[in-house]
């Protein structure tokens, strides 16, 4: 906003600082979300890439988030999982609890590149490209088993009657 509305740059800069401070103190690398009662929802995963990409964290929090994102329970040979394998509700093919989404990975890739973490960024890029080539298509999501094996999964909205509530 400081660029889009330079006449009020100071105002937007102050708001950005306040928001960054709030997010940096609230969202630890092990947190997925804050629920409606302000209760933390635990879980490291690809959301870290979004936080980093958006520049929402201060420098210290960003470095911690980037470190966490690159750990092997989240970053696989085929890309970043939506949720760590260490989470008790993890499943490699579950929609937002373990599956790997290509588009989601490009956010993390861009974030790590912006932080000059080239090696980790390249692991994401090459991992997703490798998965897409192996699968023979560009899917909405795919799974990486805890053994490291790449698994194709059905499109979640279509196959399981239990998943029709996923919009």
């Amino acid at each position: 906003m400081t660029r889009l509305d330079p006449g009020h740059a100071e105002h937007w800069s102050t708001l950005r600082t306040a928001l960054r401070t709030r997010l940096s103190s609230t969202f630890t690398p092990e947190m997925m979300a804050v629920d409606g009662a302000d209760r933390p929802v635990a879980g490291a995963g690809s959301q870290l890439g979004w936080l980093l990409w958006s520049g929402a964290l201060d420098e210290h929090a960003a470095e911690a988030a980037a470190d966490r994102l690159a750990r092997p329970d989240v970053l696989t040979d085929f890309g970043v999982r939506t949720l760590s394998v260490d989470h008790p509700r993890f499943g490699p093919a579950l929609y937002h609890r373990g599956a790997v989404w290509p588009f989601d990975n490009w956010i993390a890739w861009g974030a790590l590149r912006a932080m000059r973490r080239s090696a980790d960024a390249d692991r994401i890029r090459t991992g997703v490209l490798k998965a897409v080539r192996k699968l023979g298509r560009y899917p909405e999501l795919y799974a990486v088993h805890t053994s490291g094996q790449l698994l194709a999964v059905p499109v979640a909205n279509q196959i399981s009657r239990r998943l029709v509530r996923c919009w």
Partner: protein
């Protein structure tokens, strides 16, 4: 695991269209590094490489003016309307229904910039009308926890200064909505159905409701498997528990 062929664990559905992956990769993946950089607010600035948001043309294919205008109309208070022969045209759809002179225009190709103004071009690329800002109050002015932010991010990333000026009212409305939402949310923009019972509880990408008893569901849950409490943030609406959110 390198070298392991993927296993198809079950049938695949709508998006399972076999394509030439290499061809797909050429056109769609993962845009270009420059385009990603252009969208990343902080890249490049740290080491003196310049500000990619301001340098060069990066977003021609991934961030269309039409999309931003459509978002802006929904988000803002004013809408810029084209005038042809001094007559204001109601909307873009009407513009392409004007008649023979307008036929053949595509929404992608019929607009250009001349002397700082956006103009409509005829099929021979001659300017036939100039888009002039007019003050029209849009009765709808709302935001969402994701689309409103994206509108601002994408508009900034275009580095299309005439377009940014043209949509400045929308920009202020969008930013104002976000600022107010932050205030109402105690420092967070909170998503929730608010006044519409059928609305999404989670308005971002991870918009998956996941009842606790659904082992195949994929939504966000607490460590114990319970469902996070949904946001019912509005002070104007009585909080009424949902059968699926009472755990």
């Amino acid at each position: 695991m390198a070298g392991v062929e993927p296993e198809v664990v079950s049938a695949v559905s709508r998006n399972d269209v076999q394509v030439d992956v290499e061809d797909l990769l050429k056109g769609c993946l993962p845009v270009s590094e420059e385009e990603v950089d252009a969208l990343a607010p902080q890249v490049g600035a740290a080491d003196g490489l310049g500000d990619p948001l301001r340098d060069g043309e990066h977003l021609g294919t991934c961030c269309r003016v039409d999309v931003l205008e459509a978002l802006g109309v929904r988000l803002g208070e004013h809408q810029d309307m084209p005038r042809i022969d001094g007559v204001e045209v109601a909307d873009r759809q009407d513009r392409v229904r004007l008649g023979d002179d307008a036929r053949g225009f595509s929404l992608r190709d019929d607009v250009a910039y001349q002397a700082g103004h956006r103009v409509i071009l005829d099929p021979a690329h001659r300017p036939v009308a100039r888009l002039e800002p007019t003050v029209r109050v849009c009765r709808w002015n709302y935001g969402t926890s994701d689309a409103t932010s994206w509108f601002l991010v994408l508009l900034d990333a275009t580095r299309d200064h005439p377009l940014q000026e043209e949509l400045s009212a929308h920009t202020r409305a969008a930013a104002g909505w976000l600022e107010n939402a932050l205030g109402r949310g105690g420092g967070f923009v909170r998503c929730g159905p608010r006044r519409f019972a059928g609305g999404l509880a989670q308005q971002g990408w991870r918009d998956c409701l996941d009842p606790t008893g659904d082992p195949d569901g994929g939504g966000i849950v607490h460590l114990d498997g319970s469902m996070p409490r949904r946001p019912w943030p509005t002070p104007t609406r009585k909080r009424s528990p949902s059968p699926r959110s009472t755990r």
